[in-house]
């Protein structure tokens, strides 16, 4: 994943660095420019040079620092405070994080929470203000599709697609754009809000050298006007200013694209065009950045990131990754005899990281696939333990326990369990009644299990106990 700006085109992010290699916007580690006091709670700009400075960067730093450090700041680290106001938009960290019980406790300390919501859930349960939002089937948005943006590089076209209401909104829900505009008006931010839309925060810049569909920044605009201007700008962008088809055109046609060259799938042609030296010595820069970061932290007496600093190497070294989890298990008082299995997870298309679990249809079709409703265990190993298919089993780690039906499978290692569900639902309608086993109860939120990018893994050493026969 490329984190450089602009996010919409990888090629435009390719620039030459002063050393002749490709520029990468490492967060600064020099004495002059390092930021010792993090501007955001996960401290990615301070601790993780590689996370860069794109809108995605905050999501890729050590997000669990926010929760861990709020409870207890590490040595020589600025105190992490709760946000004055916390806006929560289409995310549910109360069920989708490591050690969710701990996360819920920290959220409960927040003084004021504003949540956008189309359903009651475990996080907006704690909201002081709830803003009922339409679903995607009831609201409008223009979305970039295809192209060479940072994730999907294998399109033959680029352009824009319109999401438009298929049904009328239910209840007292509103289009997100309407809610955002109303908030801007009430908070006295209308002019800045309109300026942000003009700059392209909604999808595409409304004013460039080629065209101008910008909004009057002093006026409040309707949902349709905002998206009509956005559609016009999108048409102009794709036609180099020639066309200006608006919302009505997109409502009829759905999407507008233009072909792109397959050369734009790859960075190499752009590197060659700009005469940029090729990649390999890049690791030397990483080594230097790691040393610099270590110097900055040590100057402030911070030693608790030293293990992570070891990962900044000139050439990749062999790491004993399983050993990291094994050593931590022993350090926490566990043993391999007590926790003989590895517990892993796998992504589920149907559950979409937890957001679809409360949709009956998605839960139903997920049931067609092995593993969604329980704990997958090797058939031979299960037989050794006296566990039959469907038996209720308990899975426990040093952080907690969960339970669910055993799903016997030949296609898994005898020393490994697979748990597809990672969701501790207790409020979301429908999902809360599924009583699915949750891996989140078994995963620690821990500095020892954090790598130098601030990331970790859904992984734990666990034990298994049969609780009873299939019901």
């Amino acid at each position: 994943m490329r984190l450089n700006r602009p996010a919409t085109t990888r090629q435009a992010s390719v620039k030459i660095n002063e050393d002749g290699f490709m520029y990468y916007p490492m967060n600064p580690t020099s004495k002059e420019h390092w930021a010792p006091n993090p501007a955001v709670r996960n401290a990615h700009g301070t601790m993780v040079p590689l996370s860069a400075n794109s809108p995605w960067s905050t999501a890729l730093g050590p997000t669990h620092f926010s929760w861990m450090f709020q409870k207890e700041s590490p040595e020589n680290w600025p105190k992490v405070t709760a946000p004055d106001i916390w806006f929560c938009y289409r995310t549910n960290p109360s069920i989708s994080f490591w050690d969710t019980k701990e996360v819920v406790k920290r959220i409960a300390e927040f003084p004021f929470i504003v949540a956008f919501a189309y359903s009651y859930d475990e996080t907006n349960h704690m909201a002081d203000v709830l803003l009922p939002e339409c679903t995607d089937f009831e609201s409008t948005q223009l979305i970039r599709v295809g192209g060479s943006k940072f994730i999907e590089q294998f399109w033959d076209h680029e352009g824009f697609a319109l999401r438009q209401p298929a049904v009328k909104p239910h209840g007292d829900t509103r289009d997100f754009t309407e809610i955002a505009t109303e908030l801007a008006v009430r908070a006295g931010l209308l002019e800045d809000y309109n300026k942000a839309i003009n700059r392209g925060s909604a999808c595409v810049s409304l004013r460039t050298d080629n065209y101008d569909f910008s909004l009057d920044t002093t006026q409040r605009h309707s949902v349709d006007t905002i998206w009509d201007r956005t559609c016009q700008a999108a048409s102009a962008e794709l036609s180099n200013g020639r066309d200006s088809d608006g919302l009505g055109w997109y409502k009829e046609h759905g999407l507008r694209t233009r072909p792109i060259s397959r050369l734009s799938w790859y960075l190499f042609p752009e590197l060659k065009k700009q005469g940029i030296r090729f990649e390999m010595p890049f690791q030397e820069r990483l080594y230097r950045v790691g040393l610099e970061l270590g110097n900055r932290l040590h100057e402030r007496g911070i030693k608790w990131w030293d293990t992570q600093l070891c990962e900044y190497g000139g050439l990749p070294k062999v790491h004993d990754f399983p050993g990291i989890w094994e050593q931590e298990t022993i350090k926490q008082g566990g043993s391999f005899k007590e926790f003989p299995f590895w517990l892993i997870t796998s992504r589920s298309m149907q559950y979409a990281w937890g957001s679809n679990v409360g949709v009956q249809l998605m839960d139903e079709v997920a049931g067609n696939l092995r593993g969604h409703k329980g704990v997958v265990i090797n058939s031979g190993k299960a037989k050794e333990l006296g566990i039959a298919d469907g038996d209720l089993i308990e899975v426990h780690s040093y952080t907690g326990k969960t339970q669910g039906p055993a799903i016997l499978s030949q296609g898994i290692r005898p020393d490994t369990l697979l748990m597809m569900g990672q969701f501790d639902h207790w409020a979301t309608p429908y999902a809360k009644d599924l009583k699915a086993p949750s891996m989140n109860s078994l995963i620690a939120m821990s500095m020892a299990l954090t790598d130098s990018t601030g990331s970790g893994a859904d992984l734990a050493r666990v034990g298994v106990k049969r609780l009873g026969a299939a019901s």
Binding site: Q360, V365, L369, G380, Q410
Partner: protein, 215 residues
């Protein structure tokens, strides 16, 4: 004579269940009634194990056992190969469900909704009381196929007259068309691949072909 069939390229299926969801929505079937679904099959023993995803449903057999056992002639076969059910004649005896080797038939004796006793607006609007206590199954989206006769479009080629599961497939697994037309997409697919039909040995002449390799 037309014989509409469906093909599933097992090399491409990833078990996403988009066809299942699409069918459920298009045909407004109640919870747990899946006219199209994809089964998840494990074969072999550790460590030599394979996992296969297999789309299943009514095979629209050339010699359908469900039709032969139907005491009221509710189940019938059309000239274009589609096996259909006349809900007016069906008495819900279930003989067809027992006779079908593909477990493709469903009978529900009470109305049910996704979230308890209160239907969603979409469920309420599309509730078809004729479907209670009768046999139901995949129709190959009969209404779409029939629309082709009126608008001159080609099933399997034009999305408007193609079964919803085929349209929705994100991996190009499913195809639909006329097997008797040598130029149809399904005829070409079958000509260039190795394939099998499920329980073919039972003599049902299924209209669902599973592609597993090139020739």
């Amino acid at each position: 004579m037309t014989r509409y069939i469906m093909t599933a390229d097992l090399r491409r299926c990833i078990g996403c269940q988009t066809c299942t969801a699409s069918c459920r929505q298009t045909n407004a079937t109640p919870p747990d009634v899946q006219w199209r679904s994809v089964i998840d099959v494990e074969s072999g023993e550790y460590p030599d194990v394979r996992r296969s995803f297999i789309p299943v449903g009514c095979q629209h057999c050339g010699d359908p056992p469900c039709m032969h056992v139907c005491p009221t002639t509710a189940t019938y076969q059309r000239d274009d190969g589609l096996v259909e059910i006349d809900y007016d004649k069906c008495i819900g005896c279930g003989y067809c469900a027992v006779a079908c080797p593909y477990q493709a038939r469903h009978i529900t004796h009470r109305v049910s909704f996704a979230y308890g006793d209160t239907p969603m607006a979409s469920e309420e609007a599309r509730l078809d009381p004729r479907r209670t206590s009768v046999a139901t199954k995949c129709t190959f989206c009969m209404d779409r196929v029939d629309a082709a006769k009126v608008n001159g479009l080609t099933p399997g080629v034009d999305p408007e007259v193609t079964p919803a599961c085929v349209n929705s497939c994100i991996a190009g697994v499913l195809a639909f068309g006329d097997k008797q037309d040598p130029d149809s997409n399904v005829s070409k697919l079958l000509a260039e691949t190795q394939h099998f039909r499920m329980h073919e040995e039972l003599g049902t002449d299924p209209g669902f072909y599973y592609i597993w390799d090139k020739k």
